[in-house]
């Protein structure tokens, strides 16, 4: 827990560096998700992506996820780094690393964290195509402002 961290950056991500930063002597496994720009989404070709974030709130929401992950899973540390700005095909937009004494908890926590990050952390992605661009809207309804 004490080495857990979350960061937002405009620079390219070094996944090995992030993964190794959370290794502790009592751990034996780190599971890392490396999310990057896919060339085709539903058959349409993407030229590049632009990520924008509400940075202070995004960091707060990431911190909440880290706290909750430590409550729910037997893990040692979590590192989450999200990159913002323009990213080319294959470039990493997000890295989530989870270390634990045993690998099972690390797999479960890492998968849970990316699912929750995509649902709650205020960051948006714009897909830029040869003939236009679209801000992608997530499918989360859960955090919707409650009206009617």
């Amino acid at each position: 827990m004490k080495q857990s961290f979350c960061e937002i950056t405009n620079k390219p991500l070094d996944i090995g560096e992030i993964a190794r930063r959370i290794v502790l002597p009592e751990c034996g496994a780190t599971v890392t998700l490396d999310g990057y720009v896919r060339q085709f989404t539903k058959g349409r070709e993407t030229n590049y992506l632009v990520y924008e974030g509400y940075e202070p709130m995004a960091l707060k929401e990431m911190e909440k996820l880290i706290l909750k992950a430590h409550e729910e899973f037997e893990i040692a540390n979590v590192g989450i780094v999200h990159r913002l700005g323009k990213m080319e095909i294959g470039e990493t937009s997000v890295v989530i690393s989870v270390s634990s004494p045993h690998r099972r908890a690390a797999f479960a926590a890492c998968e849970w964290l990316i699912k929750e990050l995509k649902r709650t952390v205020p960051i948006w992605k714009k897909e830029v195509y040869a003939d236009g661009e679209t801000w992608i809207e997530g499918d989360s309804q859960e955090k919707k402002f409650a009206r009617e």
């Binding site: 709130m57 709650t120 948006w124």
Partner: protein, 83 residues
């Protein structure tokens, strides 16, 4: 009293601004503040399904019942799509 309202991504494109200042006479409920923002920036409800918009007060997701006071930071945005 004055509050700051932030827009991101699609809502920033709709409003044509990333940040606006709003003045209210007295403390109001978040839901009421949101309706005032919609009235001032009709493109928000023209370009987006109202129900699909998310709203935060001081960097926390808002339920609508929060009381908005001077200096608060509000934001209106579409469902997040990071990762």
């Amino acid at each position: 009293m004055k509050v700051k309202v932030l827009f991101f991504g699609a809502t920033a494109d709709s409003v044509g601004e990333r940040e606006v200042e709003f003045s209210f006479d007295e403390s109001i409920r978040a839901e009421t503040a949101l309706e005032k923002i919609f009235a001032e920036h009709p493109n928000l409800v023209k370009n987006h399904d109202k129900k699909s918009l998310h709203f935060s007060v001081n960097q926390e997701y808002a339920s609508g019942d929060e009381i908005i006071t001077d200096g608060d930071e509000l934001a209106v945005f579409t469902a997040v799509s990071g990762g």
